[in-house]
Amino acid sequence: MALPQRAEILAELRARMQRLERGVGPRRAVLPFGAAALDRHLGGGLALGVLHEVAGEGADSIHGAAAALFIGGVLARLQGPVLWCLGSRDLFAPGLRGIGLDPDRVIYVEAGDAATMLQVMEEGLRHGGLAGVVGELSRLPMVATRRLQLAAEARGTTAFALCRWRAATQEEPSAAVSRWRVAALPSAALPVPGIGRARWRLELRRCRGAEAGHWIVEACDAQGRLALPADLADGSAAAADGWLRAAG
């Protein structure tokens, strides 16, 4: 008599834990970055249908130019329209086109204040027909991240919070599944005068279901893919199991 009851309780507990752990685990869809070490670390690639925070580094944290390219590169490789809520009017569509995000796919919204932008983002996430929703936010309270995360999970639409504020020393708590920081690095020298593919230091500051870490990657190509630098990936022992793991 006691046994079935126990099994029931166990099943109920498991279901409850699964509900708590939404967004984690291998069953969620992922999008590979195209950089093997990075994808392996994340269990296949960037989790879809959840909220990610992306910020720039140093002086670029206000403009978020590299962060916009990082997000654009992910969205370029997804199917469907994109809702991009602008913080200021400085986003340049031909720049995103250069990494494969067709301007015809992107719908821009000038939401004005942060509260309205969060409403619009939620509306977009709950629509269900979008590939992704981006919000260029100047602040992001914990409650807002939870709402966005729930809305993203509800219909499986990926959400990006592009954080456009001065990098704070202390990080706010957040319900986002991952938090990224994109910083420019000097690119590899070309044999001729000119400028090669840009290089980023991609920092995963926190991530549900994976350790923090950082990688040096070649920035988005014309299809929005990242790559590990050839001069570093080749012959580097560290490259075999994820180039440079976080110190802790």
Partner: protein, 488 residues
């Protein structure tokens, strides 16, 4: 008037009969500039201006024309528009301006369309109908948007003729030395009223907003509309919502039988005190899905102030467009993503204003600041036309910010530059890429040249710089350097 139209430069007046005399009813701009005014006897006018064109006035036709114009405003701008004879129009644009991106933009649009139809108009927006009436007629600018909240300050400098009073009262006030509305507002009310009657007090209160004034809206003929008259006035949001879904269902039936879809929807609520409260929502493409339309109107219901109760609710479709029946093929696997987006875009557009939801379209220009135009979020894709083969920054600074540079040779990229007080050493660079001014737009651009460089500084950040001028001919630019974009 076709071929018989008089030449435009000759002054024109219309005349009406006033007993035995003929007096001027209205004058055109030329006639006004030579000093003719309505009310002047025609004999005096012709004596003063011999080549005057005289046309008999048709007050009834004018009135009909004015009411047609009001009906057009109802369809185009606001559910609450009415004729204000002999020469005015009322538009209550509360809650409608957002569809045009603000009051000023709505006025611009209206002014342009009226001018395009050959009508000279003076327009004003103010908090009260009385103030708008006075501003439109006596403001210095042809188009005025009064700041909200301070109606008295707006009214004070205007002449008392703006108060919609009889000529006799105006004459009396002028004899007492009153010229401006401000002077009247500062004077104790009681003696004025005993001398001139209560109408003066009423007009003053209407202008300052102390008593409300209602506009009886024009109803265009042949407009799809549904109306519900309540036995008992209602005031709760739930009751309004319940009635609303009934009205929407009725309208969607009408739309379907006519093969039309709604582009605009007006909900007008008449309150117990006979004032009108209106909501207008727009759709990005013709729609007649009851759930979608109900949601759009419902989002705005909270802006209705039911006061002591609503007696009549009217839902109307001032703008409809053909909407064919749609056949969903089989499994719905076809690519009709954009069709699905319309509800989302309508919800956002009605909340923020339609101009704030858009897509980037290519403008076929080489100048970065002109390369991108805004197109409607659901307009057809513009696949071709974007410049190929170049890397553009993800952020564009508008306007370009001047930077101090140190360049070794005129045709070379700079060795370092200072932007916003930060010094950047240039490690790698690509360029120049030459962009020429567009001589067909502006004379100053005929020779203008910009040389763009993509540079990377010591930390790896990438910038898009340009130098104005080709460094050979001074006509091409002043050789100043600017930062125009950021790659990250």
């Amino acid at each position: 008037m076709g071929g018989s139209a008089p030449p435009a430069e000759r002054p024109l007046v219309t005349v009406i009969r006033d007993g035995p005399r003929r007096i001027i009813a209205a004058v055109d701009r030329n006639a006004r500039s030579v000093g003719l005014m309505p009310g002047l006897p025609l004999t005096q006018a012709t004596a003063r201006v011999p080549d005057l064109v005289v046309v008999p006035a048709e007050p009834l036709a004018d009135l009909a024309g004015l009411s047609d114009l009001a009906a057009w405003c109802v369809r185009r701008y606001t559910p609450l528009a009415a004729a204000d004879p002999p020469d005015g129009l009322w538009l209550d644009i509360t809650g409608c301006a957002h569809l045009y991106g603000g009051e000023a933009k709505l006025l611009d649009d209206l002014a342009q369309r009226l001018a395009g139809a050959g009508m000279a108009a003076r327009l004003a927006v103010a908090d009260t109908p009385g103030a708008a009436h006075a501003l439109a007629r006596y403001s210095r600018q042809p188009v005025t948007v009064a700041p909200a909240g301070d109606t008295i300050a707006v009214l004070a400098p205007l002449p008392i003729a703006g108060l919609r009073l009889e000529a006799g009262i105006l004459d009396g006030l002028r004899r007492l030395g009153f010229e401006r509305i401000g002077a009247l507002l500062e004077t104790p009310r009681a003696p004025l009223l005993t001398r001139f009657g209560t109408m003066l007090g009423r007009r003053l209160d209407q202008a300052t907003g102390r008593i409300a004034e209602t506009i009886e809206p024009e109803r265009p003929r042949s407009m799809i509309a549904a109306r519900h008259v309540f036995a008992e006035p209602i005031a709760t949001a739930e009751a309004i919502a319940a009635t609303l879904s009934g009205l929407v269902a009725e309208i969607c039936g009408d739309l379907e039988s006519q093969g039309q879809g709604a582009r605009r929807l007006d909900l007008v609520c008449v309150r117990v005190d006979n004032s009108h409260q209106a909501i207008r929502v727009g759709t990005s493409r013709p729609a007649r899905d009851p759930a979608h339309l109900t949601r759009l109107v419902q989002e705005k219901i909270e802006s209705i102030d039911p006061g002591f109760g609503i007696e009549v609710m009217t839902l109307a479709v001032p703008l409809a467009e053909p909407l064919a029946f749609q056949q969903k093929t089989g499994l719905g696997l076809e690519d009709n993503v954009s069709a699905d987006l319309a509800p989302l875009i309508d919800v956002i557009g009605n909340r923020l204003g339609a101009g704030r939801v858009y897509r980037a379209g290519c403008a076929e220009s080489d100048l970065p600041e002109r390369m991108v135009t805004r197109v409607g979020p659901l307009s057809p894709p513009c696949r071709a036309g974007w410049p190929e083969g170049l890397l553009y920054p993800s952020r564009l600074l508008a306007p370009p910010e001047p930077v101090e540079v140190m360049a070794l040779l005129p045709d070379h990229p700079p060795a370092q530059f200072i932007w916003r007080r930060d010094r950047h050493q240039v490690r790698r660079a690509d360029g120049p890429q030459r962009i020429f001014g567009e001589w067909w737009r502006d004379d100053a651009e005929t020779w203008a040249v910009r040389d763009y460089f993509q540079v990377e500084d010591e930390s790896g950040r990438r910038f898009w710089l340009f130098r104005a001028g080709d460094a050979v001919d001074p006509a091409t630019g002043n050789l100043r350097w600017y930062l125009h974009g950021l790659f990250g």
